[in-house]
């Protein structure tokens, strides 16, 4: 029973790795709340977007076992 968190760009430095498995949580908010408070604060930042299983989401959404949640800071590509 786990979900995968993916940290893109500078969030990788904040999280200490590009991704990690965490215990399943009922919602995105609960998954973030279970993290280290400093990291949780960063992930709740106004410019951080989230995608669940490759689809962008807004606000709190329910999660299911096996979901992949990506945290996306502002892009700086090309």
């Amino acid at each position: 029973m786990a979900i995968t968190l993916v940290f893109l760009g500078r969030l990788e430095d904040a999280a200490g790795s590009g991704s990690r498995e965490v215990p399943a949580a009922a919602s995105l908010g609960q998954a973030i709340g279970a993290l280290d408070p400093d990291l949780a604060d960063v992930l709740r930042g106004p410019r951080i977007r989230c995608a669940v299983n490759g689809t962008l989401v807004q606000g709190d959404v329910p999660l299911r076992n096996g979901d992949e949640v990506a945290f996306l800071p502002p892009v700086s590509g090309g």
């Binding site: 993916v6 893109l8 760009g9 500078r10 430095d13 995608a51 299983n53 490759g54 962008l56 992949e68 990506a70 996306l72 800071p73 502002p74 892009v75 700086s76 590509g77 090309g78």
Partner: protein
């Protein structure tokens, strides 16, 4: 229309890619291309030793493909090429190649310009640079946001 959109994780030869694209489009009167490459030599001697672009598989290529469809819907094109690197690159290596082929020159210029502005500011890439041995993540530039505002 010939559409060719690729996310590349290995170095590519921009001149060869553009030559191949052009050969497939003898009916196009004009082909505008933009090549973005890792700059050799930086301002104030801050030489970028390497540049890394990270992408996120579930989002990056699908968004590039969606952008290509948007460009192709907005201008009358014979062909559109969008190649973007991911991974680590050294000075002088190509990062992005966009080419738009059209019967009319203005369409080709506008399409390539629009595609680049949107690739730069909206596509799912995160960039870090290695300067003096240290990696640092690059924040989005205000200029990129301004460039985007030109298209209304």
């Amino acid at each position: 229309m010939i559409g060719d959109v690729r996310l590349l994780t290995l170095p590519f030869d921009a001149a060869e890619e553009l030559g191949t694209f052009t050969q497939r489009l003898p009916q196009a009167g004009g082909i505008v291309s933009f090549l973005g490459q890792v700059r050799a030599g930086g301002p104030e001697g801050a030489e970028v030793e390497a540049l890394e672009l990270r992408h996120y598989d579930p989002l990056t290529l699908p968004a590039m493909t969606a952008l290509a469809a948007r460009v192709a819907g907005r201008w009358t094109l014979d062909g559109l090429l969008i190649l973007h690197r991911s991974g680590t690159m050294g000075p002088g290596e190509p990062i992005v190649l966009v080419a738009a082929a059209a019967r009319h020159r203005r369409d080709a210029f506008a399409a390539a310009d629009f595609a680049m502005d949107h690739l730069k500011s909206e596509s799912w890439f995160w960039k870090r640079e290695k300067v003096a041995g240290a990696w640092r993540w690059i924040e989005p530039r205000d200029q990129d946001i301004e460039d985007l505002a030109r298209w209304g």
